[in-house]
Symmetry: none
Subunit: 221 residues, 2 copies
DNA sequence: GCATCACTATACCCTAATGGGTAGTGGTTG
DNA sequence: CAACCACTACCCATTAGGGTATAGTGATGC
């Protein structure tokens, strides 16, 4: 499986919903002998399929995509048995995103605003099996590790089920249990159960805290 | 000033902090005879300088940039006397961003995830003096215009007394009446009264709505 | 095939928190 | 003095949150 030797270039699969950015990356990689763009995908689902078909050495994965988000895609890829390098490639420098990516088996986290030459350099490092993280994120990461000690249960969207996320969204819109129930066409009691569960999972003590957290974390998607 | 005739291509200045995306756009425009990339800038300040130096027919302007943000750059360009077309080019489909851009004199609002061919088509429309907006945003825009009419009583912090604002801040932090009372050293009953009053003044129906509104309006300062 | 687990949904019970109403006190200010 | 604000008190109906229990479904594992 070691394709990072001298004569064969490292194959790369790019999963990103921005066609223009894909062009930019494609053009960048064309100039490099040792890096080869093996495939592109504009949707996570297509990317996951291509990953098993092409079995690339590494995958560049956008974090912010419509529908299935980057973390979910990352999980799906690993669950599918993909063992190559996965590098998150995104604009988000939010601590939660970085931490969530690394926790879920990402081998790198590069920001889209980085210099192309620097990016090529970083991708070579990845091909060699090293972990890469955009320089501007290292401080943030250190912070995350520090706070990890003091806060063993950091709220994380990804610990919630789909239904719980739905409830959280409505809750963050200011709706009461009764209104949420009516909107989702379930009983109020059921809504209460979901609220109870998500509060426990997020380690919060009231719907107000949950709403505030959701709004600040941008869980309105 | 009319450079949109048949023989001379429309000149474009691209202001975006993502080098890779700039490459993608550059490559895309190279293929078109009637569109010419006159210059690129990775920072808003450089872009503003280039705008006056090159006086391009249109400017593609990223909304999310470090330091000076896109709206501020847009304002600066107009204040500087730039009279060409300015098209916001961004990933953000937030209503406020779109509205703010258009209010401040943008001639278009395109999303970065659009199809390259579609993008070229749109840019040609801009060169012809038309206003372009990504299709997926039209519904959102209609919504914005509608809500503008139907909300004669927009919640306003300034109708609140100092004390009520204090209470609102604590409420927006997720605190219960009891905790707010303890923190401000007053009885829970008093807190209830203040909450009651501020809900009435803001025309909201629950503390959750108030908390969400406060967070979104940035009343934590 | 069967056991198990996670998720969703429902029901019932109970306590605490919330929102609204009325009413009163003391202080400040126009 | 009247108007407003901050504060307190009491009552009442609704809402919210937690506990326990039951049940159907779909996915996973042996």
């Amino acid at each position: 499986m070691n394709r990072t030797d001298h004569d064969t270039p490292a194959t790369i699969l790019l999963i990103d919903d921005h066609p223009l950015l894909r062009r930019g990356v494609a053009q960048l990689l064309e100039l490099e002998d040792d890096l080869e763009l093996a495939g592109e995908a504009g949707e996570p689902e297509v990317g996951i399929r291509l990953a098993s078909e092409l079995d690339p050495d590494m995958i560049l994965l956008d974090l912010n995509m419509p529908g299935m988000d980057g973390i979910a895609t990352l999980k799906a890829l690993r669950e599918q048995g993909y063992a190559g390098r996965i590098v998150m490639f995104t604009v988000s420098d939010h601590e939660e995103d970085v931490v969530a990516a690394l926790r879920n088996g990402a081998d790198g986290y590069l920001l889209k605003d980085m210099d192309p030459d620097e990016m090529v350099r970083q991708l070579r490092q990845v091909a060699l099996g090293r972990m890469v993280i955009s320089e501007s994120l290292t401080a943030l990461l250190a912070e995350a590790l520090r706070s990890q000690r003091n806060q063993p249960a950091a709220p994380d969207i990804h610990s919630l089920t789909q239904r719980e996320r739905e409830i959280l969204c409505e809750l963050a819109a200011g709706l009461s249990n009764k209104l949420i129930a009516r909107k989702l066409d379930i009983t109020e009691g059921t809504v209460k159960v979901h609220v109870k569960h998500l509060l426990k999972k997020l380690n919060l003590r009231s719907r107000v805290e949950a709403a505030v957290w959701a709004v600040q974390a941008g869980v309105d998607k």
